[in-house]
Symmetry: C2
Subunit: 154 residues, 2 copies
């Protein structure tokens, strides 16, 4: 096995055994050095966003002291769900390795495949029928942002 | 304005003024009670996942002591990006209100529209060309999960 993926698999097993979360692990590597190892922590922390990839990104960015880590690669035991894929994009990571895919995760009754179908428009959810309110007042925030002279883009 | 959206807009302005993050705010409400108010914290925390909705979900689930909060509604000053939309799904929240949309956010040069295009297949990214490695060993994790008698689904 790939050495980093093996670390991710070991993390997944450890997290699962400790009932911290589902069977998912992720590793972030920079120039061959392991920067972060994480497993899913949804159950242990009661944080539904604490997927392995998000947990690894939080650790890596804290360690490196910056929110943009394009010099890093991420290894995930499973194809990232849309939350995690977008998180990887926001972190600026350009290289993704994964093992199992969204269809494999359905074996464990996880929603990854369903959420991809939502994003693609082939499944439905109340979240796809939001109520839009106070758009003018909210859109104005972007003009305030553009007027902020010391703004930092991310 | 809607009272909860007004709180979200105020949070966005506060976060922007304090250089904690971009012009985004979110509020989570349960039975008319405000459970969490948050603004984007990407710049203040160096956490690229600390969008307003994710920050609000983390606060609300910590406060309620559970990772699944289907009894809550979320108000966001802007249409959630795919990371946040999937996070809202994972939290079990069924009712979403937002103000500005992905096109408005492009005024501020944010990537929301681009990430939606990635998800829909009408834009490209290296993340859409992952390397798949060790699939067998990774998929095996889901069988281990199914064999775990005390597993909690989430």
């Amino acid at each position: 096995m790939n050495q980093y993926m093996q670390l991710a698999v070991e993390a997944a097993k450890k997290g699962m055994k400790a009932s911290q979360g589902g069977p998912f692990g992720a590793v972030i590597v920079r120039n061959g050095e392991v920067i972060a190892v994480a497993h899913n922590e949804v159950l242990g922390t009661n944080d539904p966003t604490a997927h392995a990839e998000v947990a690894a990104i939080r650790k890596a960015t804290a360690k490196l002291g910056r929110f943009h880590i394009p010099d890093c690669e991420i290894y995930s035991t499973c194809e990232p769900c849309p939350m995690c894929l977008a998180a990887i994009h926001w972190a600026g990571i350009r290289k993704l390795y994964f093992g199992a895919d969204r269809h494999d995760s359905a074996i464990g009754n996880f929603d990854d495949l369903f959420i991809y179908q939502l994003m693609e428009g082939s499944a439905d959810s109340p979240l796809l029928h939001p109520e839009i309110i106070d758009r003018k007042e909210c859109a104005e925030l972007f003009h305030l942002w553009n007027e902020k002279e010391d703004r930092v883009m991310y």
